[in-house]
């Protein structure tokens, strides 16, 4: 087990290296620092002087990969690749193009993201599973049919409409909660209720339908028939046998996204102006702040790799048939 985890950690390294090189190619080679400077300073009427000043200020005035003018090991270290990309491995995110410390920003902003994403996940999971179980309990009846139709309808509506509709009816017409905003500590709850509710609601359609198929696959298996033959009632078989076995794929599906919760939900945070990492990313995209985007790409891929590792481990914990080697 320990060996396996160590090996997976070593495997993560080339993966992150790949991500790093890919983002480097995207941000520096295809899209040269000159282009970036022009974009930041305004497209037209930019003098060469202004461009080189901007590059100097933000540290983009070095060669990309190989500094022929420098001495010794500085040939490698005094390049954009070394200064901007290698530092990410040590979680040194550097300074954004607007001059703020990215690492500090991320640390500050990940808590609101988590405060929004974690309740959404938990409540959502609870509701999705109970909805799916209800459908399975009343299977091949009109109730199940209505449930499936409802799911398809719910998943055919864009999440944007859920957000706009929720903000309009609950916050603006009924005035139950504030439309948007955020506060520190417990005062944040009243700002978080609506986004969590909408987040849960917009996910119900597809997840409940997916969980239903998982349950239905289990229901037809032999051990369930045995359980029924043994004299257990339908609800007992569902909760004791079907639910437990179907939880394996559900749990592992959830574990993958657990680390990514820190990244926050882009749309939700920017609509409700919650100062999390999601809205941070959107702001960076809109203001074309490449340093932040690069940092977020790296952070996202690290969390993804952690998620993969956690999935593998959780498989062995919940399913004794799986052995890691």
């Amino acid at each position: 087990m320990i060996h396996y985890i160590i090996r997976r950690f070593l495997y993560a390294f080339p993966l992150l290296m790949g991500v790093n090189i890919l983002t480097f190619v995207l941000f520096f080679i295809v899209n040269s620092p000159d282009d970036m400077a022009r974009m930041q300073l305004g497209q037209k009427h930019v003098t060469e002087q202004a461009v080189s000043n901007w590059k100097q200020q933000h540290g983009y005035d070095e060669p990309l990969l190989w500094n022929a003018n420098a001495q010794g090991e500085e040939k490698i270290t005094r390049t954009i690749f070394y200064q901007k990309s290698v530092g990410l491995f040590l979680f040194r995110f550097g300074v954004s193009d607007s001059g703020r410390n990215i690492g500090a920003d991320i640390q500050e902003r990940m808590w609101p993201s988590l405060a929004l994403a974690l309740p959404t996940l938990c409540v959502g999971l609870l509701i999705d599973i109970s909805f799916a179980l209800m459908m399975v309990l009343f299977r091949s009846s009109y109730l199940e049919h209505a449930g499936i139709v409802l799911c398809v309808i719910l998943m055919s509506i864009s999440s944007l409409f859920y957000i706009i509709g929720g903000q309009f009816f609950i916050a603006k017409l009924l005035r139950l909660v504030p439309i948007s905003g955020y506060d520190d500590g417990l005062a944040a709850i009243k700002f978080l209720i609506l986004p969590v509710l909408i987040g849960v609601f917009s996910g119900v359609g597809s997840s409940a339908r997916w969980y239903r198929t998982l349950f239905m696959e289990e229901v037809e298996k032999d051990y369930v028939r045995t359980a029924r033959a043994k004299g257990l009632t339908e609800t007992q078989t569902l909760f004791r046998h079907v639910l437990r076995n179907a939880l394996i794929p559900i749990l592992t599906g959830v574990v993958v996204i657990l680390p990514l919760l820190f990244m926050g939900s882009l749309i939700m945070e920017s609509f409700f102006s919650i100062p999390g990492l999601g809205s941070y990313t959107i702001d960076a995209i809109n203001s074309q702040d490449f340093a932040i985007v690069r940092a977020m790409v790296f952070l996202g891929s690290v969390l993804y790799v952690v998620g993969l590792l956690l999935t593998d481990i959780s498989y062995t914990l919940v399913d004794p048939r799986v052995r890691l080697s």
Binding site: L22, L26, L266, V293
Partner: protein, 450 residues
């Protein structure tokens, strides 16, 4: 005639689908799932609705430069037929079916005095002499009139079909023509034909869905957006399919280092948050376009290039899921007896891949193509909201929502842009979801029993 990049790809796709259909006609193993789709009420009904959308999309994909036009404008066949809609712009917002503007203005009367009130629209309800009294009866009258004409048109279509069937087909087909599936198809046609006829008829007199901030007809915008949605939903999969199929099958079949490399590639791509990858690439395209302005002479060419590029990037971020599925399936298939037998008989590996593996994973490809379609249409709206979707000048539901969102704070609220985008998007995505369900039921061997 001007052929844009996406137009060309769409027509290639159409001919490709027709060609494959021609090639597979009468093949026994494909007949059974097709029969299942044909006998599914929901499936056929949603297919008809989808075809209706596709028809509009295709009409909107035939671009040309009008002959009597001085400007460098490129329009499509749909634009040509909707010329009145396109050119009947108002000054600013007006509500659906309104005869006056949405907000009060200072207006000059005929006798030279000025007055504070709602000015009449330039085009919507222009035929009315006195909007105060005539407006509502006229709207009702025109709606009933349009619907009645639509129903008549439907009746004519139905009679024609009946006549053709009677001449051409035998007894058995007759029975099918009156089956439950046929009834559901006719029901959908009965909704679509009169409704669209009435909408077209009414839009000659009123702005059926109102006008937006710059006075453009919202109905026209929503109809134009259909093409954008369809292009994104179909071309993206077209672009990703070759990559996913080749990599997936190779990884599963050869295993070893090929498998390792391919797995490494798709895990790396998966690890990058897809929104950020799309954002980075779109920013890149913007820079490229800004530096090569001379290559993009017309707005529509520029917007089209960006649309195509968005498809490309969505394809790059989306192919990994299908690739993984295909790899797993190929891993299973290569241990099957018939593949082993082929290997034992000395069939070349490329032949095994082509003749034995590829046809047997095709059902997974088909299912994932139809399943992806609706999620791509939905994704477009979200991406346009973050400004990394289609070009702001392209008509798309995402852009409509984005424009209307800022007006939600207005009092009274401007709701029609959002509603129009909602209705059209919901209809397309719902039809696509229902059809995808039917296809999955028909082609997925695991679900055929249940």
């Amino acid at each position: 005639m001007v052929v844009l990049w996406t137009d060309a790809l769409i027509f290639i796709l159409c001919f490709g689908v027709l060609g494959i259909a021609f090639f597979l006609r009468g093949k026994e193993h494909i007949k059974r799932p097709l029969q299942k789709i044909v006998h599914s009420k929901v499936g056929m009904a949603s297919l008809v609705a989808l075809l209706f959308f596709v028809l509009i999309g295709l009409l909107d994909s035939v671009h040309f430069k009008p002959a009597n036009n001085k400007s460098n404008e490129i329009i499509s066949l749909l634009d040509y037929w909707a010329t009145p809609l396109r050119e009947h712009g108002e000054k600013t917002y007006s509500a659906p079916f309104a005869a006056t503007l949405f907000s009060k203005e200072m207006m000059t009367l005929a006798d030279g005095t000025t007055q504070w009130g709602y000015p009449r629209l330039d085009f919507g309800g222009r035929h009315l002499d006195d909007p105060e009294t005539q407006h509502l009866p006229d709207v009702l009258k025109k709606t009933v009139y349009g619907l009645a004409q639509g129903v008549c048109l439907f009746g004519i279509i139905m009679l024609c079909c009946l006549g053709i069937r009677r001449i051409w087909q035998g007894e058995k087909r007759q029975a099918f023509f009156l089956s439950a599936t046929a009834k559901s198809v006719w029901a959908v046609v009965f909704i679509i034909v009169p409704l669209s006829y009435a909408l077209i008829y009414l839009s000659a007199y009123y702005h059926v869905f109102g006008t937006d901030k710059v006075g453009e007809d919202v109905f026209y915008q929503a109809v134009k957006s259909i093409r954008t949605g369809l292009v994104l939903g179909t071309l993206t999969t077209l672009i990703m399919l070759p990559m996913a199929i080749i990599f997936g099958i190779l990884a599963g079949f050869f295993r070893g280092w090929v498998d390792d490399v391919i797995q490494y590639i798709y895990t790396t791509l998966n690890a990058i948050p897809s929104v950020l990858l799309i954002a980075a690439s779109i920013l890149m395209v913007q820079v490229y376009m800004a530096n090569h302005e001379q290559d993009f002479t017309s707005v529509i060419v520029r917007a089209d290039m960006r649309l195509l590029f968005l498809c490309l990037i969505l394809g790059v971020t989306n192919w990994t899921g299908l690739c993984r599925l295909l790899r797993a399936e190929t891993l299973k298939l290569r241990e099957m007896e018939y593949v082993q037998a082929a290997q034992a008989l000395g069939v070349k590996q490329s032949m095994i891949l082509l003749r034995h593996i590829l046809p047997n994973v095709m059902h997974i490809v088909l299912i994932s193509v139809v399943l992806d379609f609706s999620s791509l249409v939905l994704a477009e709206a979200v991406l346009s909201y973050i400004n990394i979707g289609v070009d702001p000048t392209t008509y798309s539901w995402g852009n409509m929502i984005n424009g209307a969102r800022l007006e939600m704070a207005r009092e009274p609220i401007v709701w029609w842009s959002l509603s129009a985008a909602f209705v059209f998007m919901f209809a397309l995505v719902l039809a696509a979801n229902l059809f995808a369900d039917t296809v999955q039921d028909a082609f997925d061997p695991r679900r055929s029993g249940g």
